[in-house]
Amino acid sequence: MTTLVASTRNYFAELWRAWNNFWFTPTDPATLALIRLLAGGMMLYTHFIWSFDLAGFIGRDGYTPVEFLKQMPGREWSVWSIFDWIGPNWLLWTVHILALGVFLCLFLGLFSRIAAVLAYLLAVSYVQRVTPGAYFGLDKTNCMLAMYLMLGPCGARYSLDRLWRLRRGDASEPAPSTAANVAIRLMQLHLCVVYFFSALAKLEGNTWRLGTALWWAAGNYEYQSLPLTWLADWPILVALFTHLTVFWELSYPFLVWNRFSRQLVIWTAVAIHGGIALFMGMITFGLAMIFANLSFLKPETVRRWVDPVASRVSLALVGKKVG
């Protein structure tokens, strides 16, 4: 009996230790900083595009008027957007330009932490204003990344904040951060949920189960950005890619944690999202999902790839090399 109690206690002690290792081991903020740089750039571009018809999409009386959306089922108090309260066009443009400034700060890593919090709130405001209306997967990914970027020191590397510290004589390396690890872990787990449920939704569809879904997606003229009708002669290829997509999404949450299968899973993500970007005209969405997958990169790998470029930029800007 004593052995049973002791082994149970040991099991839970081990579990708690593993949990702590997973969540609370400080990590180099390089991965988080790289995602900030890329996601910040993507958010800047995404929201800049609204400028082409700001009043139409975001304005109070646009294609989906605020009053119209309020009548939609499920539009409760918790579905919020600052644009629900913005009426005059001049105010709309003022807020929009300020928002673009925030996204630019996030991209450049200027006042990074504050910019990350504001960028998240603004990104949610924009997307809730166009939900339903004109939102799609890109907005979901942008908001997911912004939400977790604000939890950690996303400007510790590859940022103007870092260069500013260097200019003031602080050349110390960014310390490993527990908050950076928590942010990255949340990003990774959220991404697993995204792929898992994306696969479950596909399993409800006959075309995904039969292996023809890729044809119907690729043969859609409105989506297509490069010719894909040649796939009509390759039903085996269509079936292979369709099934591969479903099985990859379904297995992602399980295989991505294993160091032997992780490379395969992540490179498949790059191939599938790269294909969506190239052939299906959703360059932004494809790239945003690839950026999210970078959360599985080890900080050392990130530094090996990005530090040489960052050093050259810092040498040019402040005369010192820094990552």
Partner: protein
């Protein structure tokens, strides 16, 4: 691209355990144990902070998980009938589920996800994690277009165009927003809510028109065999007109809203 998992850490911080009570004065003298060396915790955050953050991340991830679960199951409501044994009509033919008597066959509901999201969905809404992640599913579908013509008070055409249109909307993301606008307005959930009228009003405002005609179009997909037989995915035969709407301006013009003697 590899492991984030750190090396196995040393034993947890000594600070997490209660200090041993001092021995009673009359207790038998035991051989003195060598004091354990104090190993610093591998986790800089204290136990209280770690427990608190653990609870928060567990709650958050729980909501991240149940939101798509509930959203995906929401439209899957089916009558409570014996699986594989649908009721038969007088002629012995199976009755389609849509024609079931709801008093005899109440709906089967996704009870657990609904119960979990009943209150937690506000948290999901606030953070915008209320997503279904159902990309191109359950099946990739046909596309739609809206063609429009705007007329002035004299009945002259002053503008025309199409949503989405690669010629009219650039860059690609801007085109894609118009595409989503049309697709989401065609969603069965949005049917009958006057979305076309809202789009029409905006077009009138944009082009300062008095009347607008919207033509709703479905763009059908071709099978591989139809393509092999020479069909083009953008061929005229693939477009089907599914509705026409004429809409008169209802909102006053901006200038008409101003009080007399308003802006210079």
């Amino acid at each position: 691209m590899s492991k984030q998992r750190p090396e196995p850490p040393p034993q947890p911080a000594g600070g997490e355990k209660k200090p041993a009570a001092p021995p009673a004065p009359d207790a038998k003298a035991k051989p003195a144990k060598a004091p354990k060396p104090k190993v610093p915790s591998p986790w800089p955050w204290g136990p209280f902070a770690r427990v608190l953050v653990s609870l928060l991340v567990a709650f958050h991830l729980f909501v991240v998980f149940i939101s798509p679960w509930e959203i995906q199951l929401r439209p899957s409501v089916v009558p409570m009938a014996e699986p594989g044994g649908p009721p038969l009509d007088a002629q012995g033919r199976p009755i389609p589920p849509q024609q079931f008597d709801p008093s005899k066959y109440p709906a089967q509901l996704p009870v657990l996800p609904m119960a979990l999201t009943k209150y937690l969905h506000h948290y999901a809404n606030l953070l915008y994690i209320n997503n279904g992640y159902d990309f191109f599913s359950p099946d990739p579908g046909v596309s739609h277009q809206i063609r429009y013509e705007v007329f002035n008070s004299a009945g002259e055409k002053i503008a025309d165009g199409q949503f989405p249109s690669r010629r009219e909307q650039w860059p690609r993301l801007f085109y894609h927003r118009h595409m989503m606008l049309v697709e989401q307005s065609r969603d069965p959930m949005a049917a009958g809510q006057g979305w076309e009228s809202a789009i029409a009003e905006r077009l009138l405002e944009k082009h300062d028109g008095d009347r607008v005609r919207l033509v709703m179009i479905r763009h059908h997909l071709l099978t591989p065999q139809q393509v092999k037989d020479g069909g083009r995915i953008d061929g005229p035969a693939t477009y089907e007109e599914i509705g026409v709407m004429d809409h008169q301006r209802t909102r006053p013009r901006a200038a008409e809203q101003l009080p007399t003697g308003g802006t210079p």
